[in-house]
Symmetry: C2
Subunit: 342 residues, 2 copies
DNA sequence: CTGTTAGCGCCTTCAC
DNA sequence: GTGAAGGCGCTAACAG
């Protein structure tokens, strides 16, 4: 059995509450320097370890944050998690990581579970599209911050990136290179991030009078396989796009597979801009032009924001933080040349 | 305030313990079907959520597992974490993820912290080299499983891969292609994984009478930058290697950067075999020959093993599970040709 | 079948 | 300065 406050108290012939006061280092209560020293010595001698569980129970404060994400093995989320963990640790907290696999049921179970366990706050990259769920969640007075995916119409604390503008800029860039037929390889269509990127894409398409056709938009999901299939369908159209904007961290791998299989060469046969946060993209045969995220910054902002909300629960102001994506022009885009095989 | 057992009891005019028994669905105790129904209805009506914290405190069982890893943003660990999370969730547990950044102090703090929080077990990819620490840890009777990195001389539960054989096989493969001068791009030298790979490398070198020189071994660390520097140092030797075996998931990115910078072409100027678990390697300009890990299997085995140990604490038998790495021959290796520039 | 009692380890209020 | 008492919410042992 582990040693408790009581054990120390018994040995020191003082009351447990005295020991508690000393070990908490609570300076508001005066304790004679002599007993303080004595107690601390005994605590060290017995290698006292506070039972944090009992403490959390008593204080209703677990020093634990829940993180809910769709896929920890995706470099986007693992990068954010890495940053979040660091911040959380520095603040003296622990991190419970919950992986939903983009499964709505699992997400909801996890939220309930975390609340029942008495965590102090949550950071959520949600896979749902249900504003109501989160407006209800707000009423439970457990601080949370949405990350990456959020709801434009709902006043919740969140950290997100400039999805619309970045997509617009990508299309504009391609237009300037002479492309008029630009494909959009979408991820899960109903997510806020993807919807916003699609908006940016469409706005640019229309503003610049580029080919505006439904068949240029393909894909609904984030797996390598879905990326492969969608890319293949786009590139085997009667009138295929000369440039591609891919969305979703894994889709680009599938896209590259399809491109390779069709024996197309980047950037001569096809220009490619990818939303991706993989470290390898600069080192490919044809280094990809990418839109990536400041993952460390996103994690940091989310934690800072959450910590604010935890420390001042009475402050109900909603903070929404937009971070800028990073547009890295590399070799996978070039001036539009008509395909030779037609 | 959240609704408690007491609230339900009061409303139903029964004793709280009765409610507890019913909600636990404990079939060993007989409860009249009538009250059971009544209580359940009231619980639902009040949307009762058990306070898991109180429960954990009472039962000394948190349904939580701690995972200690060096770097969650490394695809090796994020892949394993993904698998672990899934298994843990299915078993009704939560996962606390602790990221050490290969920092020994942080690792030890985390272990203590987790124990004080009363987790039910740990899975650890340690960054330390101290057998004694773990032989002490064993005495604390908290089940744990080492993963990837372990101690050959210490009887602890662990899941690891065939580091030595896989390195041997890689060198043998290169020898069969005519290479006699093979570089070893090492990661952190003191880790068990790296030491074993080095052993396999050296055994093969000696058995096949290949060039056995200290200068062919370089690097000590796992960052991209360290991979870059070490590769550059190897490839700019007076008498550089014609083939390279790289160890460590990120080093290969640095290696590719160096190779590119030196304008060497894979596999003509250099053969490359990499220990890596990145998904992208097959889709590179020159698809890499790799040694990768069955990440899902490793996570699964670790969790299964841990769960066994948790459910049968009296069973002190030590289980050590070796998984097989996957050797994927792709285009980055070819028959040895002398470098033209000499 | 259900109620009573006790206590997990800690912190906090109130005494003295 | 320190002690005493009470209780967070739950479950387990023991009654009846």
């Amino acid at each position: 059995m582990a040693v408790t406050l009581r054990d120390i108290a018994r040995k020191a012939r003082v009351h447990p509450s005295t020991v508690s006061r000393i070990l908490q280092n609570n300076r508001t209560v005066k304790i004679s320097e002599e007993t303080r020293k004595r107690i601390l010595a005994i605590a060290r001698e017995l290698d006292y370890q506070p039972n944090e569980l009992a403490r959390a129970f008593r204080l209703r404060k677990t020093q634990t944050i829940g993180l809910i994400i769709p896929d920890i093995s995706n470099s986007f989320f693992s990068g954010i998690s890495h940053s979040i963990e660091k911040q959380i640790y520095d603040a003296g907290y622990n991190l419970v990581v919950c992986n939903t696999n983009e499964n709505l049921e699992k997400e909801r179970k996890y939220v309930r579970n975390l609340m029942n366990r008495g965590i102090d706050g949550m950071i959520i990259a949600t896979c749902q599209n249900d504003e109501k769920y989160f407006s209800d969640l707000k009423k439970k007075s457990l601080p949370f911050v949405l990350i990456d995916r959020f709801f434009a119409n709902l006043a919740t604390n969140c950290v997100f990136s400039d999805n619309k503008n970045s997509a617009f800029a990508a299309v504009e860039k391609l237009k300037n290179l002479g492309h008029r037929r630009i494909g959009f390889l979408r991820g899960r269509a109903q997510l806020s991030t993807i919807r916003l990127r699609l908006q940016g894409y469409l706005e640019a398409i229309r503003q610049f009078n580029l080919d505006d056709e439904n068949e240029l938009i393909a894909g609904d999901g984030f797996t390598v396989e879905e990326g492969y299939a969608a890319t293949k369908s786009l590139l085997t159209l009667q009138n295929p796009p000369t440039a591609l904007l891919t969305s979703g961290n894994r889709l680009v791998i599938g896209a590259m597979q399809a491109i390779k299989e069709l024996q197309l060469k980047l950037p001569d046969d096809l220009s490619l801009i990818a939303y991706t946060d993989n470290l390898f993209t600069p080192y490919l045969a044809c280094p990809l032009t990418t839109i990536s995220h400041p993952l460390a910054e996103m994690g940091e902002s989310a934690v800072n924001l959450l910590m604010q909300k935890i420390s001042r629960p009475e402050d109900k102001t909603v903070v929404q933080i937009e971070v800028k994506t990073i547009f890295s022009v590399r070799e996978s885009i070039s001036a539009c040349r008509p395909r030779m095989d037609e």
